[in-house]
Amino acid sequence: METVWFCLVAVMIAMYVLLDGFDLGAGAIYFLVAQTNEERRQVLASIGPVWDGNEVWLLAAGGVLYFAFPLLYASGFSGFYLPLMMVLWLLILRGSSIEFRNHIQSAVWIPFWDFLFSLSSLLLAVFFGAALGNVVRGVPLDETGYFFEPLWTNFQLGDHPGILDWYTILVGVTALLVLMMHGALWVQLKTEAAIRERSASVASWAWWGVLACTVLLTGVTFRIQPQILVNFKTWPVGYILPALAIAGLAGVQFELRRGKELNAFLASCAYLLGMLTSVVFGVYPMVLPARNPAYSLTVASAKAGAYGLKIGLVWWIVGMLLATGYFVYVYRTFAGKVAANSDSHS
C-alpha cells in the first residue's frame, strides 16, 4: 500500500511540474518574448485562468504527502526550513503580481509587477530544481530522523552539505532551462505573431541547453546517488522511463521544426514526465535519502497507519476523477489562442 502512495504522490508532483511548470516558465521568459504592454498582457492571459488551479497541485500533493508519509513531511519540511519559507515568499509575490498587475493602468504600477512576476517565476524554477537536487543527493539525516540544512556551506558534497552546492545549483539551472523551454512552448501554443516567433526561438535555444544539462546531469547523478543504478539493474523495465524522456526531448526539436505547436508542448511534457519518473524510480524505496544511507527515510519507515492509507485511497480516486474533469473542462473552455486585443477581465 505504501508503494501505491509513493507512486500517487509522485504522479501528483509530476502533474504539478507539468502544469505549473509552464506558467513558471512563461514567467521566466516573460521579458524575452513579450516587449510591449499588450504582448505582456497576452502572455499573462495565456496563463490567467489556469495558473491558480495549476498551483493547487502543489498544495494537494503536499496534503497527500502529509497524511501518507507524516514522518517525511515533518522531517523534510523542517529540514528544508529556510528554502521552503523562501519558496512561500516567492509564491506570494508571484500570485500577487499576476492578480494585481492589471488593476491599474499606470507606467509605474505595471512594470513593477511585471518585474516581480518574472523574477519570482525564475527564482521558483531554480529553487524547485535545487530542492530536487537535494533529495537526489541525500540530506544529513541522523538517527533522530531529523536534519537541518543551512543555505550553503562550502558548496561541496560532504557530510555537511548546504541547500546549495555545485550539484544542486546545476540541477537548479537545468530546471530553469527546462521550464523556460516548457513555458516557451506553451506561450507559442497560445499566442500569435511576434510573441509566437520569439517563443519558438527561445524554445529552440533553450532546447540545446536542456540537452547539454541533461547529459551532464545524468552522468553526475549516477555517481552521486548509486541507488539509481541499482534499481535500473534490478528492474530493467525501468529503462522505459529515461527512454520516454529521450523520446520527448527529441520530439520537442522535431515538432518545433515542423511547426506543430501542440505536439511540441506535449513532447516537452513527456520529457518532464520521463525525467521525474526516472528519478523517483531511481530512489525508491527511499523517500528521502540520507548522506549516511543507514538513516534514509523509506516508504516503510515514513508511512502512516494502514487504515488511513486504505480509506485515503477511496476518496483520493473520487477526488482525482473530479479534479481531472474540472481541468479538462477549464482547458477546453479557454482553449485556442489568446486574442490579441481581448480584455482578460471581461
Partner: protein
C-alpha cells in the same frame, strides 16, 4: 520570548490571523454573491447581475490574497511543527489533503470561469459557476474546521506502538460533533463579515449620494441576512460551543470566564480585569448566577473555577484568552442590536433616510473581523497547554532542529511582506469601492431599464 516554541507559536498565530482576514470575507461573500446571482436569474433583472459583478471584483482581490497567504499555513505544519506532524500527520493530514483535492481544485477551476467567463457561460452556466465557487469555499472551511476540531476534541484515533497517532475511524474524524458545532459557528461568523461589509459599502454610497439603487440593494441584502446570522451566531451555534467547552474543556471555560473560584450559582463576568497572580477579577461587573444558568440551565448549578484544576492544566495565557472571549461575545451582542435596529428601520421604510444608522452600519465594517479573530483566539488559546487536547502538549510539538533565530528570521519576513499586502489590499479594495458598481466601459444592457424593478 526565550524558547523556540514561543516563536513558533507566534509565527503560526501571526500568519493564520492575517490569512483569515480574507477567507472570512470570501466565504461570506460567496454566499451573498450566489444570492445576488439567484435574484438576477429569477427576476431577470440585470441590476442584480451588475451588483454581483461589482462584488465579484472585491471577492477576486480578497480571494487572491487568501490563496497566497493560505499556502504558508499548510507548509508550516511541517516546517515549524514537525514533531506534531510526525505524530499526528496520519490523522490531520486527511482533512488537509481532502481540502486540496476536493475544495481547492473546485474553487480554482470555477473561480476563473466565474470571473472571466460570464459571456461564454451564459446565465445559468454563470450562476452554476457561482454556486460551485460557493460550495468549494464552504467545503474548504469545513475541512479546516474539522482539522482544528480534532485538535480540540480528538476522536477516531489510536496510538501506534512508537507513540505516533494513527487514524482509526475516518467518519468519526469527519463527523466529529465538535467540528459540526464549530463549523456552524464559524460560518455564521463569515456570513456576518460578508453582510457587514456589503451593508457598509451600501451605507457609504447612500451617505455620499452615489449609486443609490445599488446602495439600497446592498444594505437590504446585508442587513436582512445579517440579522439572521447575528442571532444564529449567538444561539444556537455559540451556545452549543459553550456547552461543548463546559463538558470537554472545563478548565478552558473557567479561564475564559475569569472564574478563579469554583462555586454554585456562578456569576457571569461582563467586564473586569483578571489578575492571575492574585487569582481574582478586578473591577468586576457581573450578572449573578448567570454563568451557572448558561452552562447547565440551572441557576444554582456548580461551576468549576480554575482552582478545581492543577495549575499545569491551565491555559498559559489566561488574560489574553479572557479578553478574546469577552471581545467576541461583546461584539456579537452589539451585532444583534445593530442588525435588529437596521432591519426594523428597513421594515418601516426609514432605513435609507436614517443617516445616523447608516453611519453606524458604515463604521461597523471592521468589527466582525475583530470578532472573528477574537473567536479563533479564544478557541486556540483555550486549547492550551495542549496541542492535541489531552494527548500532546504544545511544548512537545515544535520542530526540534529549527532554532528560535531561524523562526524569527522568517516571522520578520512574513511581517514585512504582510504589511505590504495589507496596504495593497486597502488600496485596491478602496479603489474598487470608489469606482463603484456601474462599469463606465460597456454596460451590457441600457442602464435605465433595470431601475423600475427596485423600489424601496
Amino acid at each position: 520570548m526565550e524558547s523556540a516554541v514561543d516563536v513558533h507559536r507566534l509565527h503560526f498565530a501571526f500568519t493564520v490571523t492575517f490569512h483569515y482576514l480574507f477567507p472570512q470575507l470570501t466565504m461570506g461573500l460567496a454566499l451573498l454573491i450566489l444570492i445576488l446571482k439567484t435574484m438576477a436569474l429569477r427576476s431577470g433583472d440585470e441590476h442584480y447581475n451588475r451588483s454581483a459583478r461589482f462584488w465579484a471584483k472585491i471577492f477576486g482581490i480578497n480571494f487572491a490574497l487568501g490563496v497566497v497567504t493560505g499556502i504558508p499555513m499548510e507548509f508550516q505544519f511541517g516546517t515549524n511543527w514537525a514533531e506534531f506532524s510526525k505524530a499526528a500527520g496520519g490523522v490531520i493530514g486527511q482533512p488537509l489533503a481532502m481540502e486540496g483535492v476536493f475544495s481547492f481544485f473546485l474553487e480554482s477551476s470555477f473561480l476563473g470561469l466565474f470571473l472571466f467567463g460570464e459571456k461564454r457561460l451564459g446565465r445559468v452556466g454563470h450562476w452554476l459557476s457561482a454556486l460551485l465557487v460557493f460550495l468549494g469555499s464552504w467545503l474548504s472551511g469545513y475541512l479546516i474546521v474539522a482539522t482544528d476540531a480534532w485538535m480540540q476534541y480528538p476522536v477516531g484515533y489510536r496510538l501506534r506502538p512508537g507513540g505516533d497517532i494513527e487514524l482509526a475511524s475516518f467518519w468519526a474524524l469527519i463527523l466529529n460533533p465538535w467540528a459540526l458545532g464549530q463549523y456552524a459557528h464559524n460560518m455564521t461568523g463569515a456570513v456576518q463579515t460578508g453582510c457587514f461589509v456589503m451593508a457598509a459599502v451600501g451605507a457609504f454610497y447612500l451617505l455620499t449620494s452615489r449609486h443609490i439603487e445599488y446602495a439600497k440593494s446592498f444594505v437590504r441584502v446585508g442587513v436582512v441576512l445579517g440579522v439572521i446570522a447575528a442571532v444564529v451566531q449567538m444561539a444556537p451555534t455559540g451556545d452549543f460551543q459553550g456547552v461543548m467547552i463546559a463538558r470537554h474543556q472545563p478548565v478552558t471555560l473557567a479561564a475564559m470566564e475569569g472564574l478563579f473560584r469554583s462555586q454554585q450559582g456562578a456569576p457571569l463576568a461582563i467586564l473586569g480585569q483578571p489578575d492571575v497572580e492574585k487569582r481574582q477579577l478586578d473591577n468586576p461587573l457581573e450578572i449573578p448566577s448567570m454563568l451557572s444558568f448558561l452552562t447547565y440551565r440551572k441557576w444554582s448549578a456548580h461551576v468549576s473555577g480554575l482552582d478545581a484544576f492543577p495549575q499545569d492544566q491551565w491555559p498559559d495565557k489566561i488574560e489574553l484568552l479572557y479578553y478574546s472571549y469577552h471581545v467576541m461575545v461583546g461584539l456579537g451582542t452589539i451585532f444583534i442590536a445593530v442588525m435588529a435596529v437596521s432591519v426594523f428601520l428597513l421594515w418601516r421604510r426609514k432605513l435609507f433616510a436614517t443617516r445616523w444608522m447608516l453611519w453606524v452600519l458604515m463604521l461597523s465594517a471592521p468589527l466582525p473581523y475583530i470578532a472573528n479573530t477574537a473567536g479563533w483566539l479564544t478557541a486556540e488559546l483555550g486549547r492550551q497547554p495542549w496541542l492535541i487536547y489531552g494527548v500532546m502538549r504544545t511544548v512537545h510539538g515544535a520542530s526540534p532542529r529549527v532554532v528560535a533565530g531561524n523562526a524569527w528570521f522568517t516571522l520578520i519576513g512574513f511581517m514585512g511582506m504582510y504589511t505590504v499586502l495589507s496596504m495593497l489590499w486597502l488600496f485596491l479594495v478602496y479603489r474598487e469601492i470608489e469606482q463603484g458598481p456601474e462599469p463606465d466601459e460597456k454596460p451590457s444592457t441600457p442602464a435605465p431599464a433595470s431601475r423600475p424593478a427596485t423600489v424601496n
